[in-house]
Each structure stands twice: as structure tokens, then as C-alpha cells.
Amino acid sequence: MSKCRDAIALAAAAAASVAALSSGFAQDAGRSLRPSVAPPAHAVAAAKRLGIGRAAAPEEIAGWDIAIRPDGKGLPPGKGTVKQGEALYMERCAACHGEFGESAARWPILSGGAGTLASHDPVKSVGSYWPYASTLMDYIRRSMPYGNAQSLTNDELYAVTAYVLYLNDVITDQNFELNDRNFATIKLGNEANFYDDDRETAEKHFWNKNPCMRNCAPGAAKIIGRARALDVTPDSGKGPKVE
């Protein structure tokens, strides 16, 4: 939780340094460290339970608990190779995502885009942008194939995930078998490029006690862009068509 603690420290610093800033976020973050300090109303409620709700049985939880975390918590037992995944992918995924993860129409792109994140046209694929491989498997498990969610077996899940990682050159051997024991060794390249919300420090200048009221910019305002120049508003009949 060191990252979380850093965020809390940052937020607290922002709150202290920006005059008149009583940010809910900073207060909230502070509270999360010491939930027992300054007990709010809920602490009182906690003392007296309502006795509403029934116990959740382990098998009920097992049926619904499908989340997978980067540290491997939640990984189902199973295994699948890139080659097995390729066959499945072609059958159930390629129509939308493209044979190589390049995307068809406006469906999400899965591969490519290396080195584009700082460019004018960033491509945010699994390989170029996503920080964790667990997110890919978790998401396939909970919502794919689109319209037939939660239909893959655990082995199919590992196989398809392996194939998408192969499309992104994260796995390079077609015979590689992904399983619950080696999954945590898979790392994606962009993880280090994410950082916690720092708006209250990086954008501190947006807090301003005396915003300008008169002659705030030189000369008359000049129109430099128009929505009609693009003419993509619905009903205009000119928007890019969806296939």
C-alpha cells in the first residue's frame, strides 16, 4: 500500500498548501489511513448491527467471485497454449477485434501501437498501454465474448489470454502454456507510466481567489475553430458511418 500512502501524502500536502482548499478527496484520503480517528456516524451504526441479510455460502461466493488482481489473487486453476488460443480467438474474437488484434470497424484494438502514446494518435492497446496482464484475463473472463459473457472454460480463458499476449509480443513462443502458476510472471511494459491523480498539486494554479474580470486577454476574441467545419453532429447526415 505504499503507493496509496504516497497518494494520501500528496493529497494532504495539496490540501495544506492551497489556501481555502477543503477538498473532499484530501479529507477522504486522510480518513482511510485511520478510520477509527474521529469516528463518523457509521462507527455508531457499526456498534449496533441491524441484523439484516443472510450469510453468503462459500459456493455462492465462488460462483460470482470472478475478479483477478495483478498479484494473482483470484486466478482460476487452468492452462492453455498460444496455439490453442489462436483457434478460439479466430472463432469467437476475430470478427470484432481483427485476426491480429488490429480491430474491425470501431471495436476495441488489442495490439500494436508501440511507441505511440506521446504522439498525436496514441494507440492504447494491451501491449502499448495496459499496465497489467491480469486486467486482460479478468476482463475476458467477465465480459467476453461480447454477448456471450462468462461462457469460456478456465482452460479456454488461459488460452485466449495467451494468444492476445502473443499478438502483443509479450509471449513470443507459440507453444507457450499460460497457467495459474506462471501467470504472475507475465509483465506488461507500460506499468511504470501510470501515476496516481496529482491534479491538486500539478494543477494548483486552477485555484484562484481573484479570477480576472476585465480585459482578461488582449484584443477581441477571434474564432479559431468551428463545430460546423467538421459537420459530424448527429442528424446532419455527414457523420462517419459505422459498419
Binding site: 473532499g24 478510520p35 459473457a149 486552477f206 474580470m213 482578461c216 460546423r228
Partner: protein
């Protein structure tokens, strides 16, 4: 006044092409003249004959003359309507409460149609007692009522690179504000009993996307609601029936609809919606994550491209909405000249914490061109930035959290266009 390379205004062809919404508004001008047989000294049919009796209309709807007041989508934005968005017609509404049927929609796998008898909410993880609640269980718990805005983090996201969509329904319509009834989430957590190492929650929907977000425990213990009513009615299916999470001031993607599961953990899950999506890519290729709070923002809803000025000149009221995820709106300023000079607008109606706030600015329009802007200031002193100021620090690739100042160009004809100014 602004340079204008199309000073003659719109050709008739352009007006026709411009769009149904605008066309309705512009062609509405002659229609406003009315049918002489219904006008004085004549007596209209509705003044002579009986109308529908009670309970003929068992669930009331707006007048058929308001049939154009609907949610609209932008077809080219997304690959399918099941994973897409529709927009609230802000320009057709007043006050601060959004009617239930007009609240913007954002689904990831279509609307889950949940049978109330089959609804279950599971609460487990780092708790002393894993629990399952029925809808009746939730509805007999202590409850609170609270109106707050719900804004998609991608609201105005199509405008990062410049003016694109011509209407505040499309530029700002991924926000709504309703009165929720719900159980404070902390009450449910107390029923289960949090373990000392509890730090985060996973919120999971029962839709076919099993939509998930990680929520810091602090927010759950602060003001998060497990809501089941909006404006007094049961939640509508498109807004999460029977139960959704309400997180005042935070991005709407986290307000998980059709809530089926809450897991308590000691670290975030890094789900798709908080890594691949809803992270803010900056110009240097790095990305901010966990950008939960919606920054202060405002927009003039009338006039706007879908709601032109039809009176040529004279008195009128500029009307708009302001909101902030950090608290109450303290002030809204309005500019008629593209941000050179500002005057303070009047806030009207309730000014509630993290709720939409209505503002009005009265003008005696002389019929000349206007470059209208509004600027929200919240109680923390945050001043809504210009789009230029925002781009300077965030670049144009962020997609999310565009709260820059909107400019509307009002022509002498009264027509209005989404523009950007120097």
C-alpha cells in the same frame, strides 16, 4: 467582434443539413405564429370538447408537442448501441433536477433487465460475515435522500482537439442530477464487519459486462450510497434497476449499475475500466490513474446550438448549469465577448453540495454577435479553466475530464454554433 468567414449566416441548405434538433428549433419560429383558428378571438377545440379522463394515462408522459425532448446518441462514436452512450437534452430542461426518462445512458453490454425477486447483492472479502441481501432487505434499512450530479468522465471528451459536436446535448449531455434514495454504503459494511486490513472495495455490476471498479474504502465510509430510487421512483432499468452505487462528485463510471457484488480487499483490482479506460493519457505518454473527482464545470444551456435565440433582439435570460465534484458552486461568471470581460450570474434555486446548480444571466440583447462563455467557481476556490489552459497541462489525448470553458457563437440571426476562440 469575432472574425467571421461566413458572415451571411447559414444558407437554407445548411440550415436543413445542420440537424434535426436545430431544424426543429429554427423552423419552430414560424410555427410559433400559431394556427389562427386556435387564437383569439376564436375559441380552440380544447376549450370546447372533453379530453381524456383520469387514469386513461396510467403513467403520465410529456405533451406530444414535446416529443423532440429526448435522449440522442452519436452513432459514429461507438461500435454498437449496447456499448455506447446517449445524451441528456440539457437545452430543453430547466432547474436542477433531470427527469428520470432523460438521464443520459452509458452501458457496456446493454441494459440488464433484472427481476426484483431474483435480485441479490453479495458482500464478501475482508469482512467478518459475508452476506447476501435481497432488495427487500436493502429497502428496509436506514436510508437518506440526496440530490447529486452524475457526470461521465468522458463528458466533453470529443472536444479535446477542438469544437466538434454542435449542441450542448452532445458536448455536455453526459451529466444528470436526480434525487437518490439509498442506504449509506457504510451501513452495509458495518453489517458485514470490516477486517482491519480492509482498504479497497470492488464494485461489480450484474450486467453482461460485469462492470467493475475499485473504490477506496474512505469514499465508501464517507458518502457512498447504495441507491434504489431516483426522484422518488424505483431506479429505471437503464440507470441500474434495482440497485446502483452513488458516489457524489466522482466520475460516473464508478457508479456501478445493477450492483450485484461488493468485495472488500486490501488493494485495488486494476480492472479494465481503471487501466485501459478512465485513465488520463497526458502529452508525455504517461497517464494519470484514479482521477475520481469531477472538476468544476459549467455550460450555458440556453441559448446553445440546438436552442437558438428566436427573438432577434431585446430582453432574454441566458441560462446554464454549473457543478463541482469538490463541493458547492460558489459563483458563476458569464462572458459575452469570448472571455475578455466577465460578469457574475445569479444562482437560482438550491445550491447543493455536488449537485447541478442553475444560473441565470439577464441581457437586453442588441442583436449583435455574441461569444458566450460561462465559468464556474466552487467553494474550494477552483476556477473552471479555459480549454487552452487545460490543454497546456493535459495535452489533447486525455479523452477524460475535459472541464474547459465552452464557447457558443451567437450570430445576428440568433443561430448558435460551438466554436473555439483565441
Amino acid at each position: 467582434m469575432p472574425s467571421d468567414d461566413d458572415q451571411d449566416g447559414l444558407s437554407r441548405r445548411n440550415v436543413l443539413r445542420f440537424g434535426l434538433a436545430a431544424a426543429v428549433a429554427t423552423s419552430a419560429a414560424p410555427a410559433h405564429a400559431g394556427d389562427p383558428k386556435n387564437l383569439p378571438p376564436n375559441v380552440a377545440d380544447w376549450s370546447r370538447h372533453l379530453g381524456d379522463g383520469v387514469a386513461v394515462r396510467k403513467y403520465g408522459k410529456p405533451s406530444r408537442h414535446e416529443a423532440h425532448v429526448i435522449r440522442r446518441d452519436v452513432e459514429w462514436l461507438t461500435a454498437s448501441r449496447e456499448s455506447s452512450v446517449s445524451f441528456t437534452p440539457l437545452h430543453e430542461l430547466d432547474g436542477i433536477i433531470t427527469p428520470n426518462g432523460l438521464c443520459f445512458e452509458r452501458h457496456h453490454a446493454g441494459i440488464a433487465e433484472i427481476d426484483r425477486d431474483d435480485y441479490r447483492l453479495m458482500l464478501h472479502g475482508l469482512v467478518d460475515r459475508p452476506l447476501i441481501f435481497t432488495l427487500d432487505d436493502i429497502r428496509r434499512m436506514p436510508r437518506v435522500n440526496r440530490a447529486c450530479f452524475c457526470e461521465c468522465a468522458a463528458n466533453s471528451g470529443m472536444e479535446w482537439r477542438g469544437a466538434q459536436l454542435n449542441g450542448c446535448q452532445y458536448t455536455h449531455g453526459m451529466v444528470h442530477c436526480v434525487m437518490y434514495t439509498g442506504v449509506p454504503l457504510k451501513i452495509l459494511l458495518a453489517e458485514a464487519g470490516l477486517r482491519p486490513n480492509a482498504r479497497w472495495l470492488l464494485l461489480e455490476g450484474g450486467d453482461a459486462a460485469a462492470m467493475t471498479r475499485s473504490l477506496p474504502l474512505a469514499k465508501a465510509l464517507d458518502d457512498a450510497l447504495v441507491a434504489y430510487r431516483m426522484n422518488g421512483e424505483a431506479l429505471y432499468p437503464e440507470n441500474g434497476y434495482p440497485v446502483r452505487i452513488v458516489l457524489p462528485g466522482w466520475e460516473a463510471n464508478m457508479w456501478v449499475k445493477w450492483l450485484r457484488r461488493i468485495e472488500v480487499g486490501d488493494q485495488p483490482w486494476h480492472q479494465r475500466e481503471e487501466t485501459s479506460k478512465y485513465t488520463d493519457l497526458l502529452a508525455d505518454g504517461k497517464a494519470r490513474r484514479f482521477t475520481y473527482v469531477m472538476d468544476a464545470k459549467s455550460v450555458i444551456t440556453n441559448p446553445s446550438p440546438q436552442a437558438p435565440l428566436n427573438h432577434r433582439s431585446g430582453f432574454t435570460v441566458l441560462s446554464g448549469l454549473a457543478w463541482s465534484g469538490r463541493g458547492k458552486i460558489a459563483r458563476v461568471d458569464v462572458s459575452l465577448d469570448g472571455g475578455r470581460n466577465w460578469r457574475t450570474a445569479k444562482l437560482d434555486g438550491p445550491v447543493w453540495d455536488k449537485a447541478l446548480t442553475r444560473f441565470y444571466y439577464e441581457i437586453d440583447w442588441d442583436g449583435s454577435e455574441l461569444l458566450l462563455q460561462s465559468r464556474a467557481i466552487d467553494e474550494t476556490g477552483y476556477v473552471q479553466p479555459t480549454k487552452g489552459e487545460l490543454r497546456k497541462i493535459r495535452g489533447v489525448n486525455s479523452v477524460y475530464h475535459n472541464n474547459g470553458i465552452q464557447t457558443w457563437h451567437v450570430r445576428r440571426s440568433g443561430e448558435v454554433e460551438n466554436v473555439e476562440v483565441s
